[in-house]
Amino acid sequence: MRRIIILSLFIFHLSFCLTGALAQTGLKINDLFQGRVIPQERMIETRVRGKTLEKYRLTYYRSLRFNATKEETQQLRRMVDEDSRDRFVSIYETNNAYTQKVQVPSQGEKNRFLCYQEQWKKTDYLREVTIIYMEGNVASLGELEELLK
């Protein structure tokens, strides 16, 4: 009987994992996408799925764009860093922008990518943040960058 319960719980957990595979769950940055860090009223969220993405060899695209304080961006960077741990990360930093791109662990046959960008001016108190989560058949970050050009 105990075996049945353990097996049932395992399968139940597995079913939740499969449900999670539908989006960016399993990532720290998911808290942001769920509106737990920045309220939805402060951001522009875009979700696209379908033929439009075929030219980029993507199947799902989700982005968030908003203005954030320095403290908020620090928290966001920590989350992105957490998701980038032990992964190959591409970082570009200039005087007025910071961009971090990472291929996060795949789920099933779908490769997943996370891009984070901050832009600011010296006079600005707030920074403009853009976060993009993508899923698709693109093999690597380099290939994705080429397709986006």
């Binding site: 049932s8 719980l9 939740f16 764009r65």
Partner: protein, 149 residues
């Protein structure tokens, strides 16, 4: 007392004839166990009845020291686990089926829009911002910041 002895003698006769009931046998055992003085004719039988009484005591089922643990809750837990499993599986299947092939949704500062043109325009903006941060742009940016200030 004499009546009692008489009764015992009758019972002894019935015992040897194999006609005593269990209750009558109990009376005999009890009598021989408790008797301090016995009539002479009954004395040789004392040892035998005491032995039979002892054997009968051993054969009696001992009171169960440990009651079997009631396992009703275990069955309920198993049933609950199976129910959860079914619900989990149903949710998974429903979610997988409910996933649209085409999705164009944007939340602009909390307001939902499914206008494809608006959604794609927003997607294009974020993608352009992302694509414009490749290495060549950084070099250009750095050169500008070094020489054009």
């Amino acid at each position: 007392m004499n009546d009692n002895i008489l009764k015992i003698r009758t019972l002894v006769d019935r015992f040897f004839d194999g006609k005593t009931t269990l209750s009558e046998e109990q009376q005999l055992y009890e009598f021989f166990r408790e008797a301090r003085e016995l009539p002479e004719d009954l004395m040789p039988l004392s040892e035998m009845f005491l032995d039979l009484a002892a054997v009968q005591q051993v054969e009696k089922p001992l009171p169960q020291a440990v009651q079997p643990v009631r396992r009703g809750w275990f069955r309920w837990a198993a049933a609950a686990a199976v129910a959860l499993l079914i619900v989990g599986a149903a949710v998974t299947v429903f979610s997988l089926r409910a996933q649209p092939e085409e999705e164009y949704v944007a939340y602009i500062y909390g307001e939902r829009t499914t206008d494809q043109a608006v959604v794609l325009d927003e997607m294009q903006k974020t993608m352009t911002a992302l694509a414009s941060t490749d290495g060549s742009d950084i070099v250009e940016e750095q050169l500008k910041s070094m020489f054009c200030n």
